[in-house]
Chain length 197, copies 2
DNA sequence: ACAGCCATGTAACTCGTTACATGATTAC
DNA sequence: GTAATCATGTAACGAGTTACATGGCTGT
C-alpha cells in the first residue's frame, strides 16, 4: 500500500504522535532538538515535501486556518496524524526491519588517513571535535532536563528520555575516545611535547 | 580549484594512500571492511563514477592493462594516487573543517516513538540490534587483528588501528546502551515478565 | 558445463540540499 | 521603522542507490 515513504516521512509522522497539531515550521523546530541527534534534521523544503506526501496518502490531515481569524491574516497550516497514519506507522515499526545504523563520521575518516598530514593538524581536529561534542552535550542535556517529570513508564516522555540518555552516553563515549586518541598521538608524536588540553 | 569533490571521493583517494594500485573492484572490497564502519560503503557504480572524476582532475592515474598480457584478455584498470592527488587530499584535510558526525540510527528513531507499538515489539528490535552488533564487532575485530604488527607509531597501520579501536569501543558501548534500554523496558513493561535474553 | 567471482559500466530514479522568492507577525 | 522570527513554498542540482547489461576468469 504505502511503503514508498522515506524514513524521514515516518520520523515526521512519529513527531505528530506526541499529541499536538504542528505546522511545518514547528516540526522543523522539534526535529532540530530531537531528531537531529540520531537521525537528521531535514531541510524545511524537505519537511513540506514530506507533509505533502503524507497528506496525499491520508496519513496526516492539514488544517488551514487564518491566523487570528482575520480575513486578511496569514494562512497557517497545521498537521495532525490520522488513524490511517497511526496504523501505517505501526505497520512500519512492526513489519519492516529497523536496519543497522549508518555513521558518517568525518573525524574518524580523517583520522584513518592521519599519515597524510601533520600530527599537529590531526590533534587540532580532535580538539575541535571535543568542543563540538561539549556543545552537543549541552544541547541534549537541556532537552533531557525538559523531559523530567514525565519520563516514568506510562508517561508521555518515557521513550524520548530513554533515547536522550542513550545519546548523552554516546556523546560522552565519543569524548572519551577522542581523548584517548589525543593521548595516543601526544605521547608518541614526532615532536617531544605532550597533549595540550 | 578542485573542492567540488564529494567526501566519498576523498575517502577513495585516502584508500589509495596506503601504497597499492587498486582496481575499482578492489577499492569496493577495502571500503567494505574499513570505510563501511564510519563512513559508507559506496555502491560499485558510485566508485567508478568517483574514479572517473578523480581521474579527470588528475588526482589519480588509471593504468589500463591486459589481464595476463594476452591480446584478447580481459581489460583491467588499476588506479594510483598522483602527487596532485596527495596535495589535494592534504589541502582538504588541512583547510576544510571535518564537520560533526551524522548518525542515522533507525533503532533509536524507533525507540523514540516506542509508545506507538507493543513493548514486546521494541524488545525484539533491541535484541535483533544486539545480534547485528555482535556481527559488526566480529568483523571489525578481524580487521583490527589483521593490523597487528604494523600498528605502532611510524608504521603504516598506526592510524587505521587507532580508528579500529575507537570503532570497537563504540560498538561495545552500543551493546551496553541496548542492554540498558532492554533492562528499563523489561523491569517495568505492561506484562509481569522480565527480559528474556 | 556451470556456478561464482572478478570487473566495468550505463540509466533511471530518489532523497535531500541549497538557493531563491514571498510575505506576515512580533519585539525592540 | 526595522530586524528577527514565523511560515510556506518552488527550482535546480548533487550524491548515491538499484536495476540492468555485459563478459572474462576460476574452480569443481
Amino acid at each position: 500500500m504505502s511503503q514508498d515513504i522515506p524514513v524521514t516521512g515516518y520520523a515526521i509522522l512519529g513527531l505528530l504522535t506526541f499529541g499536538d497539531e504542528l505546522t511545518g515550521y514547528e516540526i522543523k523546530q522539534r526535529a532540530d532538538v530531537t531528531l537531529r541527534f540520531y537521525w537528521v534534521s531535514p531541510a524545511m523544503s524537505q519537511i513540506y515535501t514530506e507533509l505533502r506526501r503524507l497528506s496525499d496518502r491520508g496519513l496526516v490531515v492539514a488544517d488551514v486556518r487564518r491566523d487570528g481569524g482575520r480575513e486578511d491574516g496569514r494562512e497557517v497550516t497545521t498537521y495532525a496524524i490520522t488513524d490511517a497514519g497511526q496504523e501505517a506507522l505501526r505497520a512500519w515499526m512492526d513489519q519492516t526491519p529497523a536496519g543497522f545504523p549508518v555513521l558518517k563520521h568525518p573525524v574518524l575518516l580523517r583520522l584513518l588517513i592521519g599519515h597524510v598530514t601533520e600530527t599537529e593538524q590531526t590533534r587540532q581536529m580532535l580538539h575541535d571535535y571535543v568542543a563540538e561534542l561539549d556543545q552537543a552535550l549541552a544541547d541534549l542535556s537541556a532537552v533531557r532536563e525538559s523531559l523530567r517529570g514525565a519520563d516514568e513508564p506510562g508517561q508521555p516522555f518515557r521513550f524520548p528520555s530513554l533515547v536522550a540518555d542513550w545519546g548523552l552516553d554516546y556523546f560522552d563515549a565519543e569524548k572519551r575516545h577522542t581523548r584517548l586518541a589525543l593521548a595516543s598521538l601526544g605521547e608518541t608524536g614526532p615532536e617531544g611535547e605532550t597533549a595540550t588540553a
